[in-house]
């Protein structure tokens, strides 16, 4: 003890200066933290406070306890409805998209295909297309009476299908849109992963007599598992934060999106409607917090059961 005290006293003029000097880097990184505090941290806390109040955005706030949360579960049970929708959509598109992306990536990584750059670009293109334009195009394609898809089907004698006016079909349409748009992005992630697999492994397998299919299942899949996990993790968050797609795809004419019969209502769309359409910012904040809890639990679950086996 005595020695230490002595030591500090001895070195104190230098140390003090050094310690003061250590504060300068904090100054340099402070802009981020100041902006983060103002635009992220404060709103996060404030919306927690708001979720227990009734507020129209302009007038006074009234404390209402848990009634905003209760509102989301009573009546039509909008929050559960939106979570169910997203869960269904998740299972409709994530397996197909992830597997599709993996297969495409393996094909494009192999030597069997020429013009790889061209194919990569084309598959990736939907991702860089403006989502608004994409969604409107899908809406026109899927129109019951004048859409191209029904026109095409009519050549085979298939009657008009009300794609967007049936709850089940509308969800499938939404899933297809998401798959079409995100397939390329996931494929690029897999391509990056595949390039890290040493070619010697495939060569060794080939010498041992493995078919390409066997090496796909026994070399490729186990080695890109972390990427598969990463893709599923991103898709989970992406699915539950869907907004633009359902907001536009099913807001046909003057109807409010999320239809038919709330079949494509996502939690974020619900939040938007509550906040900015009906000016119920308290309820909107409650949606945000419920969604946070669910996503947090989903993330934990995935890390534990999917990521842990690495």
């Amino acid at each position: 003890m005595a020695k230490q005290v002595q030591g500090i006293e001895k070195e104190s003029p230098f140390k003090r200066k050094k310690r003061r000097g250590n504060k300068i880097p904090y100054l340099f990184i402070s802009p981020f933290f100041i902006l983060f505090a103002i635009f992220m941290f404060y709103p996060t806390l404030y919306s927690f406070y708001l979720s227990f109040h009734e507020w129209n955005g302009i007038g006074p706030r009234t404390y209402v306890g848990l009634s905003n949360y209760a509102k989301l579960f009573s009546g039509g049970g909008l929050f559960l409805k939106s979570m169910t929708n997203c869960t269904i959509i998740f299972f409709e598109y994530v397996p197909i998209m992830t597997l599709g992306a993996l297969i495409l990536a393996s094909l494009l990584n192999s030597r069997y295909i020429r013009l790889q750059g061209v194919f990569r670009t084309f598959i990736f293109l939907p991702y860089v297309t403006a989502i608004i334009a994409v969604t409107y195009s899908f809406q026109y394609l899927l129109d019951t009476n004048y859409g191209m898809i029904n026109l095409f089907l009519s050549w085979f004698g298939i009657e008009r299908i009300a794609w967007l006016n049936s709850p089940t079909l509308a969800r499938i349409c939404l899933s297809s849109l998401i798959t079409w748009r995100w397939l390329g992005y996931n494929m690029v992630l897999f391509l990056a992963g595949l390039q890290f697999i040493p070619p010697e492994l495939y060569e060794a397998a080939k010498i041992d007599g493995a078919t390409p299919l066997q090496s796909f299942f026994h070399i490729t899949i186990p080695l890109v598992k972390p990427i598969i996990f990463f893709c599923i993790f991103l898709s989970t968050i992406g699915t539950f934060s869907l907004f633009d797609e359902p907001f536009i795809l099913t807001s046909i004419g003057t109807s409010t999106g999320g239809g038919p019969v709330n079949a494509t209502l996502s939690p974020i769309l619900l939040l938007y409607n509550m906040g900015f359409r009906y000016l119920r910012f308290g309820t909107a904040s409650a949606v945000a917090y419920l969604l946070f809890v669910v996503l947090f639990l989903c993330g934990l679950f995935e890390i534990k059961f999917l990521g842990g086996k690495r």
Binding site: N56, G57, I58, P167, G253, T256, P260
Partner: protein, 430 residues
């Protein structure tokens, strides 16, 4: 250090003095009125605005033309921020209630009092606040009648002149019978009426014809009443028997259906004529006809309302006098309002225009004096109100009516009972 601060203060003082002086010199001569509205308004009021600016050289006008929804979003954000609201803003009747409720619009009761009995009386309810003060000026109304396609009626072997069609569509039961004839003879639909992704404004039109609606005159929830059930069951027949085109209002399929004559009729407000003639289907001029609404029982009222818009001064405006001058100049002058009516079938809320000889002129889109039918209908509209909760109540109604249309909910009574419960949970209306 001290010197630096002194320098800074001096610079700031000089700069602010300069800004104040320069701004002062501008404001000494000119009042700038900022206006937010949508394309329709400058289209209709162009000459009136020119006259106003000529007669008031001390006022300049700064118009911002945006989409209807953008006006509301921007206004809400400006109100929430407490800065940046315009002096004057246009609002549809369906949305004005919300802004009156949050206190964003100025009380103009005193200024408007000479005009109260000269305007369509049904308009006031949505712009009156809880204290009974009026916060807006009615501009256009939406009396409803039946728009029908003469060519489709002819193809079905039915008479197509307005007098005979009016007789043919005397009651809503007759309307349903005609729908079956048209379907059988031409394989066309009676009206566009989507099962989902649709705001079901036609359901509201039919409710208001019966003096029903979401709420009663005291503001109590009234959506779950026998009239409403009967109306929904009636619409249900069109869905079940495939008599309606499954296309939501203002969608691609809807426009195409109206243009190509896939649908025989459209029960809709007067302003539809302007939409047909100016942008949806100008090529159908002369193919349309107008007859009054059918009734549910003999002696019923052949009228209802859909939409309509208003103009208001914002509570934060610093130029309220000039703003009122502008509003009064434009929207209480029958000549300007008739000019707007001629241009875009913009039906004035100003009652004294209804006797003008212009109303009996034949319009190109219908080949008949259809404005007379709407002017007569406007004076007998039973009663309607959107209320501040309209957007939310309409969206809830959409869900359950749609579920009924798709067959997810069996009975109309059940669909409306669930609508009522959900509205109570969400808005607190009993």
């Amino acid at each position: 250090m001290g010197r630096k601060i002194r320098m800074l203060i001096v610079t700031l003082v000089v700069a602010s003095l300069f800004i104040m002086v320069s701004m002062g010199s501008v404001f000494a001569q000119q009042t700038t009125l900022t206006v937010w509205w949508w394309q329709h308004w400058p289209n209709c009021m162009g000459p009136a605005i020119d006259d106003f600016l000529e007669q008031n050289p001390d006022i300049t006008l700064e118009q911002t033309v945006m989409g209807t929804g953008d006006v509301y979003d921007s206004l809400f954000l400006a109100l929430a921020a407490g800065a940046g609201t315009p002096d004057i803003v246009a609002l549809e009747s369906s949305y004005i209630g919300k802004f009156v409720e949050v206190g964003g619009l100025a009380d103009i009761t005193d200024k408007i009092s000479p005009w109260i009995d000269k305007m369509d009386p049904s308009k006031w309810a949505d712009m009156t606040n809880r204290k009974g003060k009026i916060c807006g000026m009615p501009v256009d109304s939406g009396p409803v009648a039946i728009w029908y396609r003469r060519d489709v009626f002819e193809q079905a072997g039915l008479p197509s002149d307005p007098e005979s069609v009016a007789e043919l569509l005397d009651t809503w039961d007759d309307y349903y019978e005609v729908a079956k004839i048209i379907k059988a003879k031409t394989n066309k639909y009676m009206l566009p009426l989507a099962k989902a992704n649709y705001d079901f404004r036609i359901f509201e039109i039919l409710l208001w014809q019966q003096e029903a609606g979401y709420v009663d005159r005291e503001g109590k929830l009234n959506i779950n009443n026998p009239e409403a059930v009967r109306i929904l069951e009636y619409l249900g027949k069109f869905w079940k028997e495939d008599l309606a085109l499954d296309a939501g209002g203002w969608s691609t399929g809807w426009y195409a259906g109206l243009t190509d004559g896939e649908v025989a009729t459209l029960p809709e407000a007067t302003w539809m004529g302007g939409c047909f003639a100016n942008w949806i289907c100008p090529e159908t001029a002369g193919l349309w006809g107008v007859v009054p609404l059918p009734v549910w029982e003999e002696g019923g009222v052949r009228s209802s309302n859909d939409g309509g818009s208003n103009i208001a001064i914002t509570a934060a405006s610093e130029n309220k006098e000039a703003a009122w001058k502008f509003i009064e100049f434009l929207f209480t002058n029958p000549d300007y309002m008739i000019d707007a009516w001629r241009r875009e079938d913009w039906f004035p809320s100003l009652i004294l225009t209804y006797d003008d000889p212009f109303v009996d002129e034949v319009a190109p889109i219908t080949g008949q004096a259809h404005r007379r039918i709407f002017a007569d209908a406007a004076q007998i509209i039973p009663w309607w109100v959107y209320t501040p909760d309209y957007a939310e109540m309409n969206s809830i109604m959409q869900i359950y009516v749609s579920a009924y249309a798709l067959g997810d909910i069996e009975s109309a009574e059940e669909a409306l009972a669930q609508t009522a419960t959900e509205i109570t949970v969400r808005t607190g209306r009993e």
